[in-house]
């Protein structure tokens, strides 16, 4: 037998009963909306975390004109880097446009 304090939380409080009795369809619709909203937020956050954890997901836009200008004046270099390969078709999947 659960402890009386635990029971108090398991059994709806007397003041709750009239509220439950008077549940209207619009209240159910509102509750449904709350549940859907929470699920959407959860899904959005989860997708973000998954994308962030994926390798190959990171690249940035840059001010190409400023870069070219600095390369032309010799302030930056156009030296080929080591450690890269042309991206395979599979790797470029999901390579979206960046704002």
């Amino acid at each position: 037998m659960p402890h009386p304090t635990v029971l108090r939380y398991l059994i709806p409080d007397r003041t709750m009963i009239p509220l439950i009795k008077h549940l209207r369809p619009r209240d159910l619709r509102f509750s449904g909306l709350v549940v859907v909203t929470l699920l959407t937020i959860g899904l959005y956050l989860n997708t973000g975390l998954r994308l962030a954890g994926q390798s190959g997901s990171g690249w940035r836009t840059l001010d190409l004109d400023a870069l070219q200008q600095r390369v032309e004046t010799g302030e930056l270099l156009d030296r080929e880097a080591d450690w890269y390969h042309p991206a395979t078709e599979e790797e470029t999947l999901g390579l979206g446009e960046r704002p």
Partner: protein, 326 residues
């Protein structure tokens, strides 16, 4: 679209033409990846070796320290964010210092070592490699101050030119890495092991941030891992956090936290555990692990006394002290 995939760090950025990697400085121009800051550092200073911090590697030596823009981590508490979180084209100050010029300048200033530091030198890999090779030919040493977020293959090759490294192990918790640095833990641990295998002298730094990575159980696990994988003689530096950049909501690390962390790591079996960023702290000096003799006294970055014998031993008990001292 001629995209390229960068193989340097675990991010493995797939970069379309005209785009940059997550580090901002490796750029795809015309279907080829370019190291745009090669030979173009934005920070040049002469620091004491202790500032890196490297306490068991040529103590007191002046080090010619350089960094270019860019970083492959994005720590919320970054202390060099004006440098690390920008691309080369955004920098006001860019010096022209190709590897031969760099060596010439370092020698002129009387430095016997070059430090690749401030931002993460992983992202200007080619510049480090070429300068490092030249430095070795000229009799200088190379020290690498890094967060260690690099793939094993490029690191193994780079180790040919590295003599010492201080690796910032930011926490012993992958969740912390993801939330605070945008990186992950395992590649950093792999990098530490690779450096040890390749014979690079390693010291580890751990910046203690109140409530985020100052849990004693986590510190104990980290210290045990360092003891087992890198050796009990590996110096560990606990560094004091100061609020900055995007983490101004937390206070500086209390002295007590640093003391507790130091004790915990020493209890776990590490022999050389230091406290950094605290002026005049006892934990800034080197003591013999056998009899407690003061071997190297330090005040901040400055050496106040050096009692090591000529063959790098404790003058009292003759214990050999690990490090690269001469």
């Amino acid at each position: 679209m001629s995209a390229v995939t960068c193989e340097l760090c675990p991010r493995g950025c797939v970069i379309p033409e005209g785009g940059a990697g997550d580090c901002r400085i490796r750029v795809n121009l015309g279907g080829k990846l370019r190291a745009t800051t090669y030979g173009r550092p934005s920070a040049i200073h002469i620091d004491p070796m202790e500032k890196k911090p490297l306490y068991h590697f040529h103590p007191g030596a002046p080090v010619f320290s350089i960094a270019t823009a860019g970083c492959n981590l994005h720590c919320l508490n970054c202390q060099n964010w004006q440098l690390s979180q920008r691309g080369g084209e955004e920098m006001e100050q860019v010096y022209r210092a190709d590897p031969p010029d760099l060596l010439k300048a370092a020698k002129k200033e009387g430095c016997k070592a070059i430090a690749y530091t401030y931002s993460d030198p992983i992202v200007f890999y080619e510049y480090v490699y070429d300068s490092g090779e030249l430095a070795h030919r000229e009799g200088l040493t190379n020290v690498f101050i890094t967060a260690g977020y690099i793939n094993r293959k490029p690191l193994r090759l780079l180790c040919n030119v590295l003599d010492a490294a201080n690796v910032d192990l930011k926490a012993f918790d992958d969740g912390f890495y993801r939330r605070v640095t945008s990186a992950t833990l395992q590649p950093v641990l792999d990098a530490l092991v690779t450096m040890r295998e390749e014979g690079v002298w390693i010291e580890v730094t751990n910046l203690l941030i109140p409530t985020l990575n100052d849990d004693l159980a986590m510190i104990r696990s980290m210290a045990r891992w360092i003891r087992d994988e890198l050796g009990e003689g590996t110096p560990l530096h606990f560094s004091r956090f100061h609020p900055q950049y995007r983490m101004r909501n937390l206070p500086p690390t209390p002295g007590r936290t640093l003391d507790r962390a130091r004790k915990e790591a020493m209890d776990a079996g590490l022999q050389y555990v230091y406290v950094g960023n605290v002026m005049g702290h006892k934990g800034g000096s080197t003591y013999c692990p056998t009899d407690g003799t003061l071997l190297i006294g330090r005040a901040g970055f400055w050496i106040t006394e050096n009692n090591l014998t000529a063959d790098d031993r404790c003058p009292t008990c003759n214990e050999k002290i690990p490090g690269v001292w001469q």
